[in-house]
C-alpha cells in the first residue's frame, strides 16, 4: 500500500507540471482562439533566461530575486511583442494562419534563446532540498517515501493555479478575460480592448511557462528537451478539453498518475517504456469516444 501511494503521488507530481503547461495553452486558446504551439518554447526560453541571469547576477545581493524579476520583465516584453508583431496583423485571419504563426514563434524562441543564452545543459539550483522524506510511518508498514523537491513543486504549482483562479473570478481584468473568451464582439462593445487582453493572457501564459520551466529545469537541468514538454501537454488537452481550465488541471493529474502507475504495474507484463506512450494512447481513446474531452462542451453545428 505504501508503495502504491508512493508511485501514485510521484505520478501526480509529474502531472502537476503537465497541468501547468496545458494551462498556458488553455488560457491563450480561450482568449484568442489561437492554438499556441510555442508554449513549450516559452517554457524553455523562460527557464534559459532565468538560469543564465542567475549565473550573471550571482555576485549581487539577491541573485534569485533579481533574475526572477528580470525574467518576468522579459516575458512581459515578449507578450507585448507577440501581440504587436504577430497577433494584431493577423486579426480576423483563419485559425490555421495563427497556428502557423505560433509555429514560427516557437522556432524563433528556440533559436533566439539558444543564440543569446547558449545551448548547453545548465543545472538550476533554486535551493529546494533534494532529500526524500518518509511520511505516514505509523499508518503504513514502511511508510511513504516522497521527494521534497516534488512536494515543493506541487505546492508552488497549486498556489499558482489557486491565485490565477481567484484573479479570474474576482477582478475586473479577470472578468474581462472571461468575457473575451466567451464573445470577442460583445467584449469590445462594452469597452474591453482586445489587444490589451491578449497582452495580459500571453503574459500570464509566459509566467506559467516560467514556473513550469524553473520547476522542471531544477529537476532535469535546463536544456532543449524542456521545449518538448509541449508534446505532453497535447494529450492533456485532449483529455481535459481545449477550453477548460479545470480540464487542463485534472487532465494533467490523470496522465501523470496514469503513466507512472501503468509503468510500474503493467510494465513487467507488457514491457517497459509505457510511460512514454501511455498519454498518447489514452488521448487516442478519448478522441474516439469523447472527442470534446472530460470538461469540454459538445458542439452541434446549426444546420
Amino acid at each position: 500500500m505504501g508503495f502504491f501511494i508512493e508511485v501514485l503521488v510521484g505520478g501526480l507530481m509529474a502531472g502537476v507540471l503537465y497541468s501547468l503547461v496545458a494551462l498556458g495553452f488553455v488560457l491563450i486558446f480561450k482568449a484568442s482562439g489561437v492554438f499556441n504551439f510555442a508554449q513549450g518554447a516559452m517554457v524553455l526560453f523562460a527557464a534559459l533566461s532565468f538560469v543564465r541571469l542567475l549565473d550573471i547576477l550571482k555576485d549581487t545581493f539577491a541573485p534569485m530575486l533579481l533574475s526572477l524579476a528580470i525574467t518576468i520583465a522579459i516575458m512581459i516584453v515578449l507578450a507585448i511583442a507577440i501581440e504587436r508583431l504577430v497577433l494584431r496583423p493577423l486579426v480576423n485571419q483563419p485559425g490555421i494562419s495563427l497556428f502557423m504563426a505560433t509555429l514560427g514563434i516557437a522556432y524563433f524562441l528556440d533559436g533566439f534563446g539558444q543564440a543569446i543564452w547558449g545551448s548547453d545543459i545548465y543545472t538550476l539550483d533554486v535551493g529546494i532540498p533534494k532529500d526524500p522524506v518518509l511520511l505516514f510511518e505509523s499508518v503504513f508498514e514502511g511508510g511513504v517515501l516522497l521527494s521534497t523537491e516534488d512536494m515543493v513543486a506541487a505546492l508552488v504549482a497549486g498556489v499558482l493555479v489557486a491565485v490565477l483562479a481567484l484573479f479570474f473570478q474576482r477582478t475586473r481584468i479577470g472578468r474581462a478575460l472571461r468575457a473575451v473568451a466567451d464573445d470577442h464582439q460583445a467584449a469590445q462593445s462594452v469597452g474591453i480592448p482586445l489587444n490589451y487582453i491578449w497582452v495580459i493572457v500571453w503574459t500570464v501564459a509566459g509566467l506559467v511557462a516560467l514556473v513550469a520551466g524553473i520547476i522542471w529545469g531544477s529537476k532535469l537541468g535546463v536544456q532543449f528537451s524542456l521545449s518538448l514538454i509541449a508534446l505532453k501537454a497535447l494529450p492533456v488537452l485532449i483529455l481535459g478539453g481545449f477550453e477548460s481550465v479545470l480540464g487542463a488541471i485534472v487532465g494533467g493529474l490523470i496522465i501523470g498518475a496514469g503513466e507512472k502507475l501503468s509503468e510500474v504495474y503493467l510494465g513487467p507484463y507488457i514491457g517497459g517504456g509505457i510511460e512514454n506512450w501511455f498519454a498518447y494512447v489514452l488521448a487516442l481513446f478519448f478522441l474516439l469516444f469523447r472527442p470534446q474531452g472530460l470538461f469540454g462542451e459538445k458542439h452541434i453545428d446549426r444546420v
Binding site: F167, T171, R172, R175, A179, D183, Q188, S189, G191, I192
Partner: protein
C-alpha cells in the same frame, strides 16, 4: 405619443455613409441625424442594412466612404472599444452575452470603463480594487432591480430563456450609463407580454436617464408607440425619415413593405 418632449441638437450625424461586402452594397450614401434624448427607430425589410448601420455607428464595421460625427468629433471610422469609451452602448441582434458567466457578472462587465483600479491592485485585490468592486456592484444591483431580474442574479445566462437573455443584455448596456444606446431588435422573438415589459423599460430609460436611443424593430405597433422619429431603409438606401405619422403616410415606404417591384 411622446412628441411633446423637446428634442435637442444632433448627438450623432452620419454623412454619406456607404458600406459594401464584396459585391453586396449593404449601405448606400446614408445621411441621418440622431438628436439628443430622442428615440429613433430604424425599420426596413430583412437585409435592408439596419444592423449594418448600427455596426457602423459603434465601429464594428468601417464604412468605405462617408463620415460619422459624434458629439462634435468627425471620424471616418471608430473602433468598438473607443465607441464604448465615448458613451455608446449596444445590444446585438443575435444575443451576444457571455454565456458561461452569471447575470451579475455579465452586467458587471458593462462597468468595465468605469473601473480604474490598476492591474497591480487587482492582482492583490485589496484597498482600492476592493472598494471599487463593491461600489460598482451596488450600481449593478440597481440595474438588476430596475429590470426586475433579482431572482436570476446568480444564474449563468446560457441557461436563461431567450426573452430574459435579451433583458440581461439590455442590463449590460445600461451598466455603462451610456449617452447613446443602440438596440438591435430588442423584442425579436418575444411574446406580447415580454414586448410590453421591454417597451416600458425602453421608455423609462429614455425618460429617467435622458438616454438617446436608436432601435431596430419590426413590430410596427411597437415602433409607432415608442419612437419620436423613424428612419426607413430599403436595399441599403434611406427611403424615409420623419415622425411616425409622416412615415405611415409615405407611399415609398408602403410600397417597400408591400413588396412593390422597384
Amino acid at each position: 405619443m411622446t412628441a411633446v418632449r423637446s428634442l435637442g441638437e444632433p448627438i450623432l450625424s452620419m454623412d454619406s455613409i456607404s458600406l459594401s461586402f464584396g459585391g453586396v452594397k449593404a449601405l448606400t450614401d446614408i445621411s441621418l441625424h440622431v438628436r439628443k434624448h430622442e428615440i429613433l427607430a430604424i425599420i426596413g425589410p430583412n437585409g435592408a442594412g439596419k444592423s449594418s448601420l448600427l455596426n457602423v455607428i459603434n465601429g464594428v464595421y468601417h464604412p468605405s466612404s462617408g463620415s460619422v460625427t459624434y458629439k462634435g468629433a468627425t471620424r471616418s471610422q471608430m473602433r468598438p472599444h473607443e465607441a464604448a469609451s465615448q458613451g455608446i452602448a449596444r445590444t446585438f441582434q443575435n444575443i451576444a452575452l457571455f454565456k458561461g458567466m452569471t447575470v451579475l457578472d455579465n452586467i458587471m462587465t458593462g462597468r468595465t470603463l468605469k473601473m480604474h483600479a490598476g492591474f497591480f491592485w487587482q492582482c492583490i485585490y485589496v484597498g482600492k480594487a476592493r472598494d471599487e468592486e463593491i461600489r460598482h456592484r451596488r450600481k449593478v444591483e440597481e440595474i438588476i432591480d430596475f429590470l426586475q431580474i433579482e431572482s436570476i442574479r446568480k444564474t449563468p445566462v446560457g441557461r436563461l430563456p431567450y426573452g430574459l437573455q435579451k433583458r440581461v443584455e439590455l442590463g449590460r448596456a445600461l451598466a455603462a450609463e451610456p449617452e447613446l444606446l443602440l438596440l438591435d431588435e430588442p423584442m425579436a422573438g418575444m411574446n406580447i407580454e415580454e414586448k410590453e415589459d421591454m417597451s416600458r423599460f425602453i421608455l423609462d430609460i429614455n425618460d429617467e436617464f435622458g438616454t438617446t436611443i436608436v432601435l431596430i424593430e419590426h413590430d410596427m405597433g411597437v415602433v409607432m408607440d415608442l419612437s419620436d422619429r423613424v428612419v426607413v431603409l430599403d436595399y441599403g438606401r434611406k427611403i424615409g425619415d420623419g415622425t411616425p405619422d409622416e412615415i405611415r403616410g409615405n407611399q415609398e415606404v408602403i410600397d417597400a413593405y408591400l413588396g412593390v417591384a422597384h
